[in-house]
Amino acid sequence: MSKDFEQQLRDALRPVDPEEGFEQRVMARVAREPAGLRSKIKRWTATLAIAASLAFVAILGAYQWQERREQQGLEARRQLLEALRVTGEKLDVAYQAVNRESPPPTDDGSGA
């Protein structure tokens, strides 16, 4: 009985076709969608992706440029220190040479 009843229910609820031309009516509404809504969304997505890529490249470029500048600054500092060190050494050498070539003045008249 229960099975019969469920079968009767299935029969009563058998799917029904919509009125003739349903597909055309749906497609007409689809055609009235705001001009290419889906393609607009896709275009916007593509534009955003390109903008994000460009921003990423720009940020990366700026970071690398900054990094290079820092390296150049450090290198310049190193070179300056090296130059100062070399100059200091040379001055020391020159000073010692000058000191060697001209001995300190002797007291030559007072005791004669």
Binding site: E6, P15, D17, R38
Partner: protein
Amino acid sequence: MKASEAWSPDELLTRASAGESAAFAALVRRYQRTVYSIALRMLSDRQRAEDLAQEVFLQLYRSMDSIDSDSHLAFWLRKVAVNRAIDRIRQEARHDSEPLTEAAAVVGEVGDADPLLQRRMAELVSQLTPAARAVVVLRYQEDLDPVDIASTLDMPINTVKSHLKRSLTILRARVLGAAIVDDVQPSMSERSP
């Protein structure tokens, strides 16, 4: 034979997702019966069912990118059709509009079954609460098992089973004209949670 009829379900889906109108029209042809029947059983009115079914396909058109397979498409269409129908019933209830029942008893073509009995059963189904009606329609019209119904309606499986059991009891009692009609009436008018 249209070219679109030779396409496999997956090819149809891929082409429709790419914006090919012929492919989308083929999808409409393929699923119009399912969507329209759910709408009709839920709303009990041909015109409102047609309108709702059209809206479901429009929503599908806008959401094609989110559909990943043919089985997902069938699941998506049933879910959206039922949910939209329930929303509409609730909106109309808030606005106190009188539900139309002229098409409540629309039945499909069946060989030698008793048309009067079928008409009566379809009419009684249309009097169930929206949630119970959705469960019965998905079970006996769409032939889904309780697990699939639970997932379509985002409903616990035990709630689905209890809706089914209760609805069958109510329908059987009314069809057989049992003496419990008076007990059944309040249940049929109860609101879904």
